[in-house]
Point group: D2
Chain length 223, copies 4
């Protein structure tokens, strides 16, 4: 992690744009309920822990983080199902998406999951098959790009030319959420049942949070 | 429209699954504020109009509709940005997506927009170019399907094999929203600035609403 | 429970207005993800349980319930913090609130809580003090009503005359939510840390749900 | 306005706690869609205006503001119906609410509205009646406080002793929202149909926004 931008997968990243508040904002907001204020961590570490353990989560809505993310469309399809975040994404209606596409490694392709049978293949994929998949993928990514560029040159509207773009293609977005909703995102997307790819993004988001909200992060990890 | 299923594009549809409440539920909920009840349309048509015109929209949250939609992934990408609906979508992590892909007509491909320059091509697309695009699209859709099937047979996890699937491929989902949120969806997606494809879906949703909530629909159309 | 209206506290109630979907809608929506349909409870009871236990909650957003509630303002203040429900409430800006006010029983007033020390008194309240509180409350409720009526007669705007109304006064609202959000409401408001009064309302909501969605209710209770 | 705290009504205030982003964050987020960045106001003032006028509101979710508010319960009842804000409020379950209660001025009490007949009195209130209302209100506020204090001393649980508290009593909360949702709040609550009291709070919120997001504020005011 340098300059708060974290590389993810082969071409992606998660980058901090802005944050507001911190662990002490949570305590400050919680003290609203009893008319008090943040008093310092000697006494307030216990309060923060109490809030988290007893699921008093509204104070965790009083700080947050805005990030920029580059990820395959497939990952964004999962990500944007979270309805408590705000999104602004690059649009292939308005600008041709750059020719960057996610190619998994051989190891990732051969990975098996002990927890999610449904997402697995019908049989174990061997090294040759994994290599075959990857080279087929690269080849077809380029075919799709060729048709895309030819169509754009021929004057086909961008919003139609994009039909052939694969869900492995990278896009970029900004996402804004408060800390409570980021934690909920991480609970679902760092889970071993989540797809490996989005888990890498969730881990990167978690890394940013661990720097910005270290005390809350510790409570989250202990949970 | 037969059996409340409406064909959209070449392989898609919008189908009513369930609805609750009706125009009179809106009046009944609005009368909560003054301690009254629905009194019949002779006196309440005026109240419904008043609510709509003065943007008292919470009573329109007291009825709703649940639909099933088959549409290209590209359309779902736009649709699911609406965060006030509930979604359940077919998942290519768990089941191979059937080989159905959206192929626009020649007329659609040649269509130009007077309102949205950005989404257009760099020049007007002529008939030959449009036909070239369509046949290229069909051909590459099949290539993508070949790689997809071969990868699945080789044991590549479904969640990775799908990387090559184009955003023109059809998927299926259920969507649930209250009437207020459906109207907000239609306001944005029936607009001439919306992409032609999602407008066809919005029109179909509007058609269902016009049958279920005819008085509200009339107010919406007059707006 | 008669005619699906349930009495709560001394003057309140929870009443079913409308519901949509049922346990089988949840399964039907979940089967979207694998392209299937509801198959009957012999095989689908297991699926419903799986969904619930593994927190796959979006299918539980595909059915719901609309209710009418009469409760003290104090209870509505807690209730309406739930931001995933739709509300329409009687408004004292537009109509004078009827003179009905919550008077707790002696037993309730003397109740102590083992789980929530903060909400308790500084000492145990004895029977005489409880009776004193109740008769003081009744007396002051009537004084507030006198000032309220006199002000209204003098032409003071309703929206100002209401300033003296106590938070123990009853109001009425309709509330609409999907099943997932009702269960979340119950998780927080049936909890022993919730105030006893709103717990009585939550229990009534739970009773309606147990009739409408019996299989989901069983899973909720086992949780 | 000193130190970004603004007095409202007789005992209330609106105070800035924290803000994030600014007008340029909106442009930066909007440029996501075409792969660009903020370029300086010479060229981007036009883009900001375009976004606002054409209701492309998601970029306005990329900045926001966290405030503290002291207001009568009656105002909070209206305010907290906005479901896109985060709230933490002082709770009378846990701490006795201080004896501060909203007393309108004679002028306010005699005010008539040309736009909202329902909220008005049955006749015009004259000066004597207004003075009578105000002194009655003050007297009954103190009676309520006496019962409240006596009950607390007798050991009545705080969560019950509060039943007699009037909706004119002040409470305190923190509220967090993004700019889009603040503007929506202002659209409804600065409107002449909103109650005069909450309009004063909305004006104070608007004043904070005008300092933090001056270009967006100008567009809002021109709307």
């Amino acid at each position: 992690m340098s300059n708060q931008s974290i590389d993810v997968l082969d071409c992606g990243y998660v980058k901090l744009v802005e944050s507001y508040g911190g662990d002490e904002s949570i305590v400050g907001a919680a003290r609203m309920s009893t008319g008090g204020e943040f008093k310092g961590w000697d006494s307030d570490a216990k309060l923060l822990k109490y809030l988290y353990k007893h699921k008093h989560m509204t104070p965790f809505e009083m700080c947050g983080m805005l990030i920029e993310v580059k990820a395959p469309i497939m990952v964004f399809r999962e990500w944007q199902r979270h309805r408590t975040q705000s999104y602004n994404e690059m649009s292939a209606r308005y600008i041709p998406l750059p020719n960057e596409n996610y190619v998994p490694t051989i190891e990732r392709t051969m990975q098996t999951s002990s927890t999610n049978k449904q997402a697995q293949g019908v049989k174990t994929v061997d090294r040759d098959a994994a290599m075959g998949f990857i080279s087929g993928l690269k080849y077809d990514y380029q075919r799709a790009e060729s048709l895309y560029q030819r169509s754009l040159e021929d004057g086909v509207p961008k919003e139609l030319a994009r039909l052939i773009l694969p869900v492995g293609r990278y896009s970029v977005m900004r996402a804004n959420a408060n800390l409570r909703n980021w934690l909920q995102f991480l609970t679902l997307r760092m889970d071993e049942n989540a797809q490996w790819e989005i888990r890498q993004y969730a881990n990167a988001v978690g890394s940013l949070i661990s720097h910005l909200f270290p005390r809350t992060w510790d409570l989250f990890c202990d949970d």
